[in-house]
């Protein structure tokens, strides 16, 4: 004989289970089967620090990040899409400048067509924040860096940069290897204009 309160609990379980079996009921934003680097950087910044200090994407190879993020999916209650996005970001952020050179990636100069503001809000905002003051521990206020020359800043953005005292380095191109030289110039121009 099942007690009434257990009937309530089992009913809740049934509803949740049914809910899960019909994922179309859940309106996921931009849900795709592929990971998205820009969304992934935001999800990484939002979720990983919920429990522990942020780990550097360069700590692990691409293949090792897969079981790690799936483990974190279970631990943190992430959706599959969040997991894939974070994986895409981590796998792109351990991408080294040397690897980029072998791939011949550094010669691309054409613009992606995105404005500097769009690039910032997709790739940079997760760590640097909408106000440029830093959204996660150790990320410096961008305004303290703008006295440097464009050439110096572009090199830092392109090759990645370790701020003194920061727990981890910014990955090359903010973790998005698809950005071209023109994109980097556009985003630097936006940063100079927005955070002067």
């Amino acid at each position: 004989m099942i007690k009434p309160r257990y009937k309530v609990i089992l009913t809740i379980y049934g509803l949740v289970f049914g809910f899960a079996l019909y994922p179309g009921l859940v309106k996921a934003d931009d849900n795709t089967k592929n990971g998205d680097i820009a969304r992934g950087s935001q999800e990484w910044a939002n979720n990983c620090a919920r429990c522990h200090n942020m780990r550097d994407p360069k700590e692990f190879r691409d293949d090792l990040w897969r079981p790690i993020v799936n483990h974190m999916r279970v631990r943190a209650g992430l959706t599959g899409q969040q997991t894939r996005d974070i994986l895409a970001f981590l796998q792109s952020s351990n991408y080294t400048v040397v690897a980029a050179a072998v791939e011949g990636d550094t010669t691309r100069t054409e613009s992606s067509g995105l404005s500097g503001e769009q690039i910032y809000k997709q790739t940079c905002v997760a760590c640097h924040g909408a106000d440029g003051k830093g959204a996660i521990p150790g990320v410096p206020d961008l305004r303290t860096r703008l006295s440097k020359s464009d050439e110096t800043l572009l090199q830092s953005i392109k090759n990645g940069f370790q701020s003194p005292g920061s727990p981890m380095a910014m990955p090359p191109k903010g973790g998005n290897p698809n950005l071209t030289d023109a994109d980097l110039e556009a985003v630097l121009s936006y940063i100079r204009q927005a955070f002067k």
């Binding site: 309160r5 257990y6 609990i9 089992l10 809740i12 379980y13 949740v16 289970f17 809910f19 899960a20 079996l21 994922p23 859940v26 309106k27 996921a28 934003d29 849900n31 910044a45 939002n46 979720n47 620090a49 919920r50 429990c51 522990h52 200090n53 942020m54 780990r55 550097d56 691409d62 293949d63 090792l64 897969r66 079981p67 790690i68 799936n70 483990h71 999916r73 279970v74 631990r75 943190a76 209650g77 992430l78 959706t79 599959g80 899409q81 969040q82 072998v102 830093g134 959204a135 996660i136 521990p137 150790g138 701020s163 003194p164 005292g165 920061s166 727990p167 981890m168």
Partner: protein, 420 residues
């Protein structure tokens, strides 16, 4: 007449002379010009010869360059071939169905109790194994290996689950898992994650917070609307066991280490829902219901409730959690009284960037129907982060418990921990 003729003759000769002399000057000039032209031609010829020689030399250099270029091209092709091989091998690894990963953490530590009782008392190693089949099945397991007081090595299977990712919003988790009630036990207790060397008062083994259980669990998350998001865990397990005191007339503790027996034939139902209205704030609520029984006795109620929260802003982290377990009364039992264990804590930590230091303060309170278990605690800590996962901790606990009990002793901790 003769004079006239002579004059004519001289005149004629003079005229002829006048005509001849300029002609003579022109010839000399032609000769000089010709000579100059010859000299110029000879010079040009010399220059042409020099140029020809130079060209011959240059053509030789080009050949050399061609040879070097060929050599470079061959080497680049060889490098490219190596890269392709490496990429192919990497692609094979990437597309391989199963992936193995070893994670975990370790900790070593020193403790000084008040009154003086100092020792190096923590040597702990927790390897965590991950085996992933595609993105469908994950086997994850953590062992805890620790040296006990007598020098023996204690080995505990902290958890072992096989997780089936059913869809984007749900994973079915089976096996022994850390209790999903609250946050500390399931997510914050590992040494490299916990900001202090000790657990909050009441959140240790056999205290107010359930530790682990064996059964089935549904876990996942779902978006509610940007940026709101929720996560959940629902479980059914064998449930806890009851532990009597030495006299055998009171229930002293609820054992939640996770057992594979279920002698009272009662299952425990429970879960947790976490809500994130903004990414930097999580609010969770947990509950579990079931029946428990002492051996050869009737069932009695068991309940657990909990609330937890975490808010962070840049270098500041604030955690808070409340948990309660309750065992109902049973008049026919050898231990008839109702028992309750309740604990809560608030913890704030702040990273002193750009230095590697972090300061921590925690207040925790543990209430029980057994006075010797109760404790009120302040803990202050200073951490040095060699890296986000390698931390040296220095902490001091101000404990207030029953006089004469270990719960009343203050403690100094030094711990070195590394998560990998």
């Amino acid at each position: 007449m003769k004079n006239i003729s002579r004059k004519v003759l001289f005149g004629t000769l003079f005229c002829l002379g006048m005509i001849w002399v300029p002609n003579l000057t022109s010839a000399e000039e032609d000769t000089a010009a010709m000579k100059a032209r010859i000299e110029a031609l000879e010079k040009e010829l010399a220059e042409v010869k020099a140029l020809l020689k130079e060209q011959i030399q240059q053509s030789a250099t080009k050949e050399e360059v061609q040879a070097v270029k060929k050599d470079v091209v061959e080497k680049v092709q060889a490098v490219k071939k190596d890269v392709e091989v490496a990429k192919t091998e990497q692609a094979e690894w990437k597309t391989y169905d199963s992936t193995v990963h070893l994670a975990g953490y370790g900790a070593v530590g020193y403790t000084n109790d008040d009154p003086m009782n100092d020792r190096f008392n923590q040597v702990q190693f927790n390897p965590i194994f991950h085996y992933l089949f595609k993105d469908l099945i994950l086997l994850e397991s953590e062992l805890e290996l620790a040296i006990e007081d007598d020098g023996a090595t204690e080995i505990v299977l902290e958890y072992l689950t096989i997780d089936w990712f059913m869809n984007d919003y749900m994973a079915l988790v089976g096996g022994k898992f850390l209790s999903p009630l609250g946050q500390f036990r399931q997510n914050l207790h590992p040494a490299w994650i916990n900001k202090l060397p000790s657990a909050p008062s009441g959140f240790g083994h056999d205290q107010a917070a359930p530790v682990a259980d064996v059964g089935l669990q549904l876990r996942g998350g779902f978006p509610i609307g940007n940026p709101m998001y929720a996560n959940y865990a629902l479980f059914v397990t064998n449930g806890p066991e009851l532990e009597l005191n030495m006299a055998g007339d009171e229930i002293e503790a609820v054992e939640t280490a996770g057992v594979v027996s279920n002698e009272d034939e009662n299952f425990l139902f429970g879960g947790r829902i976490g809500f994130l209205p903004i990414p930097s704030l999580e609010i969770g609520a947990s509950a579990a219901f079931g029946d428990v029984a002492l051996e050869d006795e009737s069932d009695r109620d068991y309940e657990a409730w909990g609330f937890d929260t975490h808010w962070w802003w840049r270098n500041l982290d604030i955690f808070g959690e409340y948990i309660q377990q309750e065992v109902g009364s049973l008049a026919s039992s050898v231990a008839p009284d109702e028992q309750e264990w309740e604990a809560w804590y608030v913890q704030a930590s702040y990273k002193l960037l750009p230095t590697k230091f972090e300061v921590v303060a925690r207040y925790s309170d543990y209430d029980s129907t057994h006075a010797d278990q109760e404790q009120e605690q302040w803990a202050l800590g200073l951490n040095y982060l060699f890296a986000p996962n390698a931390i040296a901790k220095f902490a001091y606990e101000f404990n207030d418990g029953l006089d004469g009990e270990p719960t009343d002793d203050d403690r100094l901790f030094i711990q070195l921990t590394y998560g990998f």
